[in-house]
Amino acid sequence: MHAENEKNSKIIEFAALGLMVPIITFGIYVIAHGHLTPGGGFQGGAIMATAFALLFVSLGKKAIESIKGEVLVALECIALIGFIGIAFLGMGNTFFFNFLANSGVLFGEKVPFGPNSGIFSSAGVIPLMNFFVGLEVCCGLTLIFFLIFKGAD
């Protein structure tokens, strides 16, 4: 796919690097507002992974060589352990118990009764779990792209 003598134009490389910033920001936005708006961990993670796909397409070998598969695997494992770990933390009551909701600490603001006006700091452990799911999906999809591009070379 990327032969030795093939050279990508500087314009494409620069534009891809520039586009990565808004794409990742949008992905983080979708993950962070998962408990308020449509979207969530999986969707946001997939959006973030497209940034890396763009990187692989535009930079080719350079990008593939700079990323290590093992790091992605480790990050993926850490994200999944984080997800299950939060579920374990609720074990005082039950597995997956939302112990942060309405507690006033992290994402624990009390939500008034009735339609939610969009209080960001609500929903307890759900945003945290969304974050871990997002990290997992981003790493997983990036790993798949990485292996496909690596195999093609």
């Binding site: 093992e70 480790a74 494992c77 850490i78 299950i84 039950t94 597995f95």
Partner: protein, 515 residues
């Protein structure tokens, strides 16, 4: 502490292997010794929880666990008419299945320590995910959750079947398995979707209370039963079994037997809990009996002509699944009829056959794995006279073969005899077919025994040795279980089989336990 484990046991049974699956790769980065230690530790913890949970259920009745509620038993917070949270329910039938899966999980882990040489960390990650999904299927009380666990099971099994990826045939088998499971899962999902569209609920107990058996519901029932029968490898959809069982590493094959039984569990759970009140349930029972008879006969006749040792045993697995379907199908037929007591006996036979099959089929696959490990050969025409070099494997093989053929001092005899006796009252012809299939099974195992173990020593197999110790320990554990179940079938029947059969038949008690 004991209090904590008896209330939270079912959640931990799924959570601990799932956590271990993702911790194992991290431990592998640190150190190999630490990784092995962690694997052993977490397997022992999982199996202990499994035994403890099933003990608790047999002693004190059905366990219910609501995920994410303030209290485990709170399935319906005030103001709700149906349970909206994911509820885990484990009655005596689940407890029985958890017991049998825990034994096989433990044994195949020990065996893997001897037989798997490379990619150990990855192997165990997938293996733990597979264990978590099997326990999940056995514990869940929620239809969509059931689908999710079945899907996780399919994906992790595919990874494990393709584990020896340097061999092209294992990749093809894994691909076949993936396609068949994807089709089956879609059918299951479609069936669940129809039920959800009708009643807006996913909890099995809640749907069971609300179900009206309209035409669309019957459509959903057919989809669910067909999909689950496909996943458990009964005959019209059995073609993935010989490929998948034959090509997976042997320890995985032993656990794949348990995982198809988990699908069988789901099939029984759905037909007994959701659709038991259906006016044409006897038609469903007849369909299950027909599946069973076809599986028995086609499985064994296909096995007779095989030359590949594991493929042969895989066809026998299809044939033995037929016995379970036959026994439990007759039980389903007899609900609300005059020969209820015989139906109960047939169900006990079918259910007893589930654990017996897991034990002896597991043992036989492990011995086949040992033969392949030692000789590097799987064609029966090229193996011969290995009894001299591998005495222990030979003994274990004899025990397993006697059990699958239903010879007296083993557990296979106990359950097969129960099935013959009770099915005879239902229809003598079915019993006769079952006995003939059993004889054909014996013939084909005598064939393996003569060609592989007896006979003159072969020139090219002069330097083979007995397999490593972990593999022998694993096989001896299973052989011990087979003999002890065969010697004391009465106490096993009283302690675990009877409660399991009764739990499956008493739909009311299950509904009462949830809400």
């Amino acid at each position: 502490m004991i209090e904590f484990f008896s209330t939270n046991g079912i959640a931990l049974l799924i959570a601990v292997p799932l956590l271990s699956a993702f911790l194992t790769p991290l431990f592998e980065k640190i150190n190999r010794f630490l990784r092995n230690l962690y694997i052993i530790f977490s397997v022992i913890v999982t199996v202990t929880i499994g035994f403890f949970v099933s003990y608790t259920i047999f002693v004190s009745g059905t366990l219910v666990y609501t995920l994410g509620a303030t209290e485990p038993g709170l399935t319906m917070p005030s103001g709700l008419r149906v349970p909206v949270r994911i509820v885990l329910v484990a009655d005596a039938f689940s407890a029985f299945m958890i017991l049998s899966s825990s034994i096989i999980f433990f044994v195949s882990t020990i065996y893997s320590f001897g037989s798997i040489r490379k990619g150990f960390g990855k192997y165990f990650s997938l293996f733990f995910i597979m264990a978590a999904s099997v326990f999940g299927i056995l514990c869940t009380g929620d239809l969509f959750n059931l689908f999710v666990f079945i899907e996780i099971l399919s994906i992790s099994s595919t990874g494990l079947i393709a584990f020896r990826k340097e061999k092209p045939l294992s990749l093809i088998s894994a691909y076949n398995y993936l396609i068949v499971s994807a089709v089956a899962s879609l059918m299951i999902l479609f069936g669940i979707g129809i039920l959800y569209g009708q009643y807006g609920m996913l909890n099995i107990a809640a749907v069971s209370r609300a179900i009206k058996f309209s035409f669309v519901d019957v459509f959903a029932m057919v989809l669910l039963i067909a999909g689950l029968a496909m996943k458990c490898g009964s005959v019209p959809m059995h073609f993935w079994v010989p490929d998948a069982y034959g090509r997976a590493p042997s320890a995985v094959t032993a656990f794949l037997v348990v995982s198809s039984q988990a699908s069988l569990y789901a099939l029984f759970r759905v037909s007994f809990m959701l659709f038991a009140g259906f006016s044409l349930i006897q038609l469903v029972a007849l369909a299950i009996i027909t599946f069973g008879l076809l599986s028995m006969f086609i499985g064994v006749t296909m096995a007779l002509v095989q030359k590949d040792i594991k493929r042969l045993m895989a066809y026998h697995a299809v044939s033995q699944t037929g016995y379970m379907l036959l026994g439990v199908g007759v039980g389903l037929f007899s609900i609300n009829t005059t020969f209820y007591s015989h139906g109960l006996l047939a169900m006990e036979g079918g259910i007893f056959h589930i654990i017996n099959h897991a034990l002896y089929k597991g043992l036989l696959f492990l011995t086949a794995g040992a033969i392949i490990y030692a000789t590097k050969e799987r064609d029966l025409n090229k193996i011969g006279g290995i009894a001299r070099k591998m005495p222990f494997t030979t003994i274990f093989f004899i025990i397993g073969a006697a059990a699958i053929a239903g010879l007296p001092p083993t557990n296979g005899f106990a359950s097969k005899f129960l099935i013959y006796e009770s099915v005879f009252v239902f229809n003598p012809l079915l019993s006769i077919i079952a006995v003939i299939v059993s004889m054909l099974t014996l013939i084909s195992f005598v064939k393996i025994f003569c060609s592989a173990f007896l006979g003159p020593e072969r020139e090219e197999l002069k330097n083979i040795k007995e397999v490593p110790k972990p593999m022998l320990v694993a096989m001896s554990l299973l052989a011990l279980c087979i003999i002890s179940f065969g010697l004391f079938p009465d106490s096993v029947l009283k302690a675990i089989i009877e409660p399991a059969a009764k739990a499956l038949l008493s739909q009311g008690a299950y509904l009462e336990a949830v809400f």
